[in-house]
Structures are given as C-alpha cells and as structure tokens.
C-alpha cells in the first residue's frame, strides 16, 4: 500500500508547474477570456504537445510516452491550477480515453498518434438540451453511416477536429467518431459562463459517422469514458481549489482591517481551514480514483464518482470563498478570483453535474451492499 505519487511523478508534476508558471500565467488565460474570437491558446497547445503531455498516457506504439494514468493525473492537477485555456480535457480525457477504451486497432493506429502529436483536437458531444441525456431523450441519429441532429453544448466544439458523438442507430444508442471538418457539419459558438474555454453547438446534416464500440453500447461506453474523465477532471479541480486557498491565504496575510491582518480574524481563519479540509478530502478521493483508473480496478465507478463529488464540492467552496476573502476587489474583472470561479462551474458540468454522480455513487454502494 502506498498513497502518494512516486518521486518521478512528483518531479514530472514540479516540472509541469514550473513550465506552466512560465508559459501560462493569468495573462494568457485572460487573453482568451477577453477575446471571444480566440477559442484557445494555440501556442500553449503546441508547447503541451512538445512536452509530451498529450501523449503521456498513449502507448508508445501509438506515438505516446506510454506512461500511466497517474502521470496524467499529475499533469491534470497542474493544468487545473494554471487554468490552462487549452482543449486538454476534451482531447485527452474524452477523445483519447474513448479510443483507448472502445476503439478498434485501426482507429487507435489512425488517431492516437495524431492526438499525441497535437494534430488532432477532440470533443465529446453527448448533450442535446437541459438535463442528462437519456435513451428516451436522445434525438441524434445515424442512418447509413450519416449523422443527423444537434449537440449542445460541446466543449471545444469550435476547434475540435474529431468528436465522439452519442447517437442512435436503428433505435440503439451508440458512440460515433465524426470528423468535424467534413461536409454536413456546422458549428456555432455558444456564450458560456467561462469564456476562457470554448464551447459550441454542433449541427449535423448527414455527416459521416464511424461507429466507436458496439451497437447499443452507447450509454455504457459513455459512462465508462465519464468515469475515466471524472478522475482526471477531479485533479484539475483539486489544482484549481488549492490555488484558490493559496490566493486567499496570501491575501489574508497582507490585507489589514481594524489594525490587524484579516487573516488574524477567526471568521477568516476558519473559512480557510474549511477550504483546507475540503481540498484535502477532495485530494484523497482523487488519489483513490487515480489508483483505480491506473490499475483498471473494478472499484473505478465508485472511486470516480467519489472523486468527482468531492472535487466539485471543494472547488465550489474554495472559489466562492476566495472571492469573499478578497472583499470588493475580489468582485472585479481585474482580479483573478473570477477566473477560478468561472472555471469551477465549467469543470463541474463538463463531465455531468455532481447531482447525477451522487446518484451513481449511491447506486454503486447499493450494489456493493447487496453483494
């Protein structure tokens, strides 16, 4: 038993942190936030590919570094901390994981090397409207290899080359890979709460769709992809939440009110202690999820749900109370508190809202309890 990253993994993490401090300061995030026409930081994306991050968990035979998911988790934490405005989650946690999970040998050989090289941006297109997609609500359909329907919101939908799309074929839900630059695809940017990330509506009118995984397996595969992504996003969330705590602490030590640092008032101290508590609980749950993901353990569904629930809770608390700790300045456009608050909302929804994950968690426990 061993409940920590290895020294090598820690080193990778430290290097990533230093790199991102240099290459992805808040001004880089704001460059995307303040310019709606810019969907992501291209330079940073190229740099991430050059660092080998995109291919970290992709097998060597497919052009990756062949490291484990633990390394990916370590990187995710740093990307989350830096609010990296790049389609890392969409491409790696969604697309690459989907292909690794369900792709044929041909699909793996065709797409994974391009992902590792930074030549292919991915997206997951499952949602069609308010609420969780269900078998009953699913409208998008594939007939004769052609996809029709609309998906929204699709994170990184404007910039993705290849999307994993949930659609029905012969009445059965399945997953499909769709090239977004091909004919029959139109995209429209959507306005969201976190403009530092790109989100679009995709409309398909007879776009070519190749099946990913078996017919009828759409929702099971989607859930498995989300389980994997939930763990990886949890690390991004923990990274962001920890940064919020640091910002709060630094501010609480330097800001004076009534002749004392605000950090000497218990109302502030206890708030920050609560942030710490939530962040540690989230981190520990994320570690367990990371182990389950990396080991391919049967505990993954439970571990992923717990990691996601804890991470969503911690990030929400840390990002909102970070603003509160800063007072008026925290509510301005200029101060970075808002960046985390916005990203917190994006991450809490991009892989399904926590409420659904809580339900899933309890279902898993019931299954285990009965067993």
């Amino acid at each position: 038993m061993n409940f920590d990253f290895s020294d090598e993994q820690k080193q990778l993490k430290n290097e990533a942190r230093r790199f991102l401090q240099r290459e992805c300061g808040p001004e880089r995030v704001r460059a995307i936030l303040d310019h709606p026409e810019k969907a992501y930081d291209k330079e940073l994306w190229t740099a991430a590919a050059a660092q080998g991050w995109l291919g970290a968990a992709i097998p060597e035979q497919h052009g990756g570094l062949g490291l484990g998911r633990l390394e990916l988790c370590a990187l995710a934490e740093e990307l989350g901390r830096a609010l990296a405005p790049i389609p890392f989650g969409s491409t790696i946690y969604f697309l690459a994981e989907a292909i690794l999970l369900a792709g044929s040998e041909t699909q793996r050989a065709k797409y994974l090397p391009k992902i590792a090289a930074g030549e292919l941006i991915g997206a997951l297109a499952s949602s069609e409207g308010p609420g969780e997609p269900t078998v009953a609500s699913l409208q998008a359909s594939v007939v004769g290899g052609k996809l029709t329907g609309a998906k929204l919101p699709v994170t990184d939908g404007d910039i993705a080359n290849l999307a994993v799309v949930l659609a029905k074929e012969n009445g059965q839900p399945g997953l499909f890979l769709v090239h977004l630059e091909g004919p029959g695809v139109s995209r429209k940017s959507l306005q969201t709460l976190d403009p530092s990330r790109d989100v679009a509506q995709l409309t398909f009118a007879g776009a070519a769709a190749e099946p990913l995984g078996g017919a009828g397996e759409g929702f099971e595969l989607l859930q498995q992809i989300l389980d994997r992504a939930a763990v990886l996003f949890a690390f991004e969330q923990v990274g962001g939440a920890d940064r919020c705590l640091e910002m709060s602490k630094d501010y609480a030590l330097s800001r004076y009110a009534f002749g004392r640092p605000i950090g000497s008032y218990q109302a502030i101290k206890h708030k920050l202690a609560d942030m710490f508590i939530k962040n540690e609980l989230a981190r520990s749950n994320a570690y367990y999820g990371a182990w389950a993901l990396n080991a391919g353990a049967p505990e993954l569904p439970t571990a992923a749900a717990a990691a996601r629930v804890a991470a969503c809770d911690a990030y929400w608390y840390a990002s909102k109370e970070n603003i509160q700790t800063h007072g008026g300045i925290g509510f301005t456009w200029e101060v970075d508190c808002q960046l985390y608050y916005r990203r917190c909302r994006q991450l809490a929804l991009v892989a399904g809202a926590p409420r659904a994950w809580k339900e899933r968690l309890v279902s898993q426990l019931e299954r285990r309890n009965v067993a």
Binding site: F3, S284, V362
Partner: protein, 405 residues
C-alpha cells in the same frame, strides 16, 4: 500510488486475520467511548493476549515490548481487528498519549516499571490536563504543585478526565509558579490515582454514561522523582502528549454511511423505500465522500510515516470531519424513522438504537481532544501559517490573568 497490499503486506494481513479468528471473541464486547467499566475484565484479557502475540502497539520497538512493526502493519492489523467485537478503548489514552510522554521524559527505571504493564492492559492511565478554568486553554491550569523538600504537594481540581475512575496512574499538568507567564509556570508529573488526597467523582454525561470525572487533589504528596521533564517545562511536555494524540491513528467509530443505507432499505417513506428517497441518497453520497476522503487521507499520512517523512498536515482534519458527519448522519437517521425515531429503547429502535445513541454521543466528540473551533485554529495557524489570535495573557504573570467574570 497503490491501494492494494504488497505480497509482504498480504502475508501480514493473512497472519493477523488467522490469529484474530483463532483468538478474538466474535460477539460480546462492543467498542465505545463511554468507559463504563462493564467490559473491562474482557478488555484487559484481550489486551494481554494481543500484547503477547505482538499485535499491541505494533510500531513500538522490541525493547519496549512491541514487535517493532511498520505503520502500515499497524493499519492492516487495525483494519482486521475492526471486524471483531473487541474493545481496546480503555488503553487508548494510556498507550497513545501518557506512556509515550513517560517514554520521552521519565528515567529508565520509571520507564521499565510502567511501559510493560500498560502494554499488557494491566494498568490503565488517564490524562489530567483540563480544569474548570480551561480545557481549550489547558495552559490556564490552576492545580498547584508546591515543592516541599524531595516532595511536591498537590492541591486543586481536574475535570473531564476520561477513565479516571478506572485508572491506576495519570499524567498531571500542574502550576508550579504563578509569578511567570502561564506557559512558563507549569510542570508535568505522573501520579498514582490511589494516592491519599485524590478523590474521583464520576460526572454524569449527557449521553447517560459516566466516562469522565472530576478529580480533586487535597494535599496529595508525590515524590520529585515523579516529575516528567524539568520544573517549568510542563507545557513543552504537554505538547508532546498532544502531538501523540494527533499522531495516533484512530478509527472513525460509530455507524457509517453504508449502515445508514442499510437502514434506509428497511424503512418506507411515502410508499417507497427510504433508500429510493433522493434527499437521503444525496446525503449518503456526501457523507460517503467525506468518510472515504478521511480514510484515504489517513493512509496518506501513513505513507509519509513509512517513508520516514514527517506526516503532512492532512491528518489534522480528521476529528472535525468525522465528528460532524457522524452527528449529522445520526440526526438524519432518526428523522428517516419519522415519529418512531425518537425511541431509543434498543429492543425497539433499529440497530439497537445505534443512531439515537450516536446523536447523544457526538456532541462530546466535537469537544474532546480539541474542539471543532480549536482544530480549525490549529489548521489555520500551524498548517496555513495565519497569525495567532490576539493574546491578552501572553506576557502577564499567571496570577494577574483575568479568568471568569
């Protein structure tokens, strides 16, 4: 990161499990915080057996009667022991706090005298720190120790002393100088709880049990050789005791979210199983995530210990989270039963009134061993480095500090 046993760990677990199956009673003793003494004889017998087999204080070195095991082994053993109805609660304060303090500050002869019997459950210890004048502010202790030749004369009162009524010995934090600031005027001693001049009065707790006590000292005489650490250094010694308290990796006692879920399955609300009720389901998920988070957090601490590192601050969150989740979960369980929830007759209430009893016990968990507020202060100050509170008592002679008003 690996949450599975290595082959050596698996072998250790197997050995421990086999030993437990062969030796532990499966029914009878129930772990609990209320030391009512009713199961003391069995608990002692169990502790003796454990010590002989090398399963008591697993990380203690051989010279002190431990097997010299690793922190991971002690976790593995605890996980396995938790599946059996045995009670080691009477010995926790002694082995987790008092004896480590004795080991750190007493002379060889004293150590030799006390370590073995405590390990084997033959002698029970208590911690005499809190007083009516202060528990959070334990450095406000007023119990006086006045030197008389080779002896000290003790007068005063301790309170909330868990297990004092069952204890053979205790460690006592006493005021030896009232003319210096409070942290500088204290000294630590070990005492025999049966000495003349000691009077122990059990306190009736709100939970109904009497696990803690008032302890009065009237001209109790003790030898200077019973002093632990230098005169005036009592606070430093107390810090060592309290550090050991925080390091001792205790289990979360009481019922867990899985038991709540099991109960929910048997209860019907509005024509459907309470286990289908979304309000409860969401809460179960929240509690589960916190329990799991604590469990893994504790394992992170063990990992740093076994790598020879000083554990990080993670472990300081344990008590606050565990006590509050336990309290809320118990309340919800009562409410799930609707009117019936108020019944705590164990023959009628589900789980032998486990949740009802937990409602009554958890307020104590939020206070004992550092209140929620003190734990948050500790996290804020020691972990996050925020400033300490403004102190009005710091550079003032103890005798001039204001107390009750």
């Amino acid at each position: 990161m690996d949450f599975t046993d290595t082959p050596e760990e698996a072998a250790y677990r197997e050995k421990a499990r086999a030993w437990l199956i062969a030796n532990a009673p499966k029914q009878g003793l129930k772990p609990g915080r209320d030391h009512d003494g009713s199961d003391l004889a069995e608990a002692r017998a169990w502790q003796t057996k454990k010590a002989a087999a090398g399963y008591a204080q697993i990380t203690w070195p051989k010279e002190w009667g431990g097997p010299g095991g690793t922190p991971i082994q002690s976790v593995i053993y605890a996980q396995e022991e938790a599946k059996f109805a045995v009670n080691s609660g009477y010995f926790l304060i002694g082995l987790g706090m008092c004896i480590p303090t004795v080991m750190a500050f007493a002379d060889e002869e004293t150590k030799k005298r006390f370590v073995g019997p405590a390990l084997r459950g033959e002698e029970i210890w208590c911690q005499l720190f809190s007083e009516p004048s202060g528990g959070s502010d334990a450095a406000a202790a007023r119990t006086r120790a006045v030197r008389d030749g080779d002896e000290w004369v003790i007068n005063g009162q301790k309170i909330w002393t868990s297990g004092a009524h069952l204890s053979d010995y205790g460690i006592l934090l006493a005021r030896t100088d009232i003319d210096v600031p409070k942290h500088k005027g204290m000294t630590m001693f070990w005492i025999d709880m049966r000495s003349p001049g000691v009077e122990i009065r059990p306190i009736h707790q709100m939970s109904g049990a009497s696990g803690f006590n008032e302890v009065f000292f009237t001209d109790m005489r003790i030898k200077d050789s019973q002093r632990l650490g230098p005169v005036g250094d009592g606070w430093k010694v107390a810090i060592v005791t309290l550090m050991n308290e925080r390091l001792s990796v205790g289990d979360i006692r009481g019922l867990d979210p899985a038991q709540f879920l099991r109960l929910a399955r048997e209860v019907t609300i509005g024509g459907e199983s309470a286990a289908r009720n979304h309000a409860f389901r969401e809460k179960i998920a929240d509690w589960y995530v916190q329990f799991e988070g604590l469990k893994h957090t504790r394992m992170r601490t063990i990992t740093s210990l076994s790598r020879g590192q000083t554990p990080g601050p993670e472990n300081s969150i344990g008590k606050v989270v565990a006590a509050n989740v336990a309290q809320e979960m118990a309340r919800e369980a009562m409410e799930m039963l609707d009117q019936f929830g108020i019944i705590n007759d164990p023959s009628l209430a589900p789980l032998a009134a486990g949740f009802q009893n937990q409602v009554l016990a958890t307020p104590g968990n939020r206070i004992a061993g550092g209140t929620d507020e003190i734990m948050r202060n500790i996290i804020a100050e020691r972990v996050l480095g925020l400033p300490g509170d403004v102190r009005l008592d710091k550079d003032v002679a103890f005798k001039d500090i204001p107390s009750w008003r």
